[in-house]
């Protein structure tokens, strides 16, 4: 079978990004795809390749996940993640998780270590603690760019065109 990995860094916008940001986005997705492909080439499973690639993107502040997540109405980070293995349809997910670096790893633990498919908020936090997932300061997930985005969203509110809001 061919070895294949494809990654995305989020759909959005109605106009081109500034040129310097475009380059950062291209570099970010390229790095993630190559990470995933390295795992496949080393004999790794597809499930490990997609996790590895997504961890690279979660750690990159240019992307809306992990470090770089956008902020909710209270200026806090609440993250969601899911992972699924096509071999046996096993899957794990978390929602509204806070203060962890890589929600996709926690979703993978839900898949492997529980009889459930989705844990949320406080339950996900308790599970993360039980699994030894380190809690990190909220500030490590928040970028200056996202503080400005929230400020802009609160100022403009409903005046923002639909194409500029509500995109994950």
């Amino acid at each position: 079978m061919p070895l294949v990995i494809v990654v995305h860094g989020g759909a959005g916008g109605n106009a081109p990004h500034p040129e310097d940001r475009q380059e950062k986005l291209r570099q970010g997705v390229t790095k993630a795809a190559l990470k995933g492909y390295d795992i496949l080439r080393g004999g790794g499973r597809a499930i490990d390749a997609v996790e590895g690639a997504v961890v690279v993107l979660e750690d990159d502040p240019e992307f809306n996940a992990g470090c770089g997540s956008v902020l909710n109405e209270q200026g806090k980070v609440e993250m969601d993640a899911i992972i699924m293995d096509g071999k046996d349809l096993s899957s794990g997910a978390v929602s509204a998780v806070k203060r962890i670096a890589n929600p996709i790893k926690l979703a993978h633990l839900v898949m492997e270590k529980t009889r459930h498919t989705l844990l949320t908020d406080q339950g996900a936090a308790l599970f993360a603690k039980a699994m030894g997932v380190p809690e990190i300061p909220e500030e490590q997930l928040v970028t200056e760019q996202n503080l400005k985005r929230l400020e802009k969203a609160k100022l403009k509110g409903d005046q923002l065109p639909a194409s500029e809001k509500d995109l994950g």
Binding site: L3, G10, G12, A15, G36, N72, D80, L167
Partner: protein, 134 residues
């Protein structure tokens, strides 16, 4: 939102999707990403998909599973992704993007927003893009 789909040497497919959601969202808002069939889906019998875009719209049309339904009906990944995104746009006025790999290892990246950064490696060949036409 970020995501990945993959096929390994044994023909197994998988997907992963992770997100911070949308700016200024209500406390407790959960979008499509952690929902099976919306934020993505993976089945060795068909392929794997990861979604991104307007979460509430994606959930209404089960975007990832819809894409795989089209592939079960015989469409290529590219046709299936285009059809699913078009359905979401016409039915609920939602936009977004998809990455897909089929059980044969065919892949595509499609989006109905202005841009979506993507990258793919198949048998050692790297491709990537961001804007329309890339």
């Amino acid at each position: 939102t970020v995501g990945a789909v993959a096929m390994d040497g044994q023909g197994n497919v998988a997907f992963a999707t992770s997100t911070g959601g949308i700016v200024n969202k209500m406390i407790g808002r959960v979008g499509d990403s952690p929902c099976i069939g919306s934020g993505g889906y993976a089945d060795n019998h068909i392929g794997a998909v990861s979604s991104t875009g307007h979460g509430e719209s994606i959930m209404k049309v089960n975007l990832a599973r819809l894409t795989l339904f089209h592939m079960e009906q015989g469409m290529s990944p590219e046709e299936a992704a285009s059809n699913a995104l078009n359905y979401m746009k016409t039915r609920v006025q939602g936009t977004g993007g998809l990455i897909v790999v089929s059980k044969e290892g065919e892949w595509t990246a499609k989006w109905s927003t202005y841009s979506m950064p993507w990258a793919a490696v198949k048998d050692g060949q790297l491709q990537y893009g961001l804007n329309p036409g890339e």
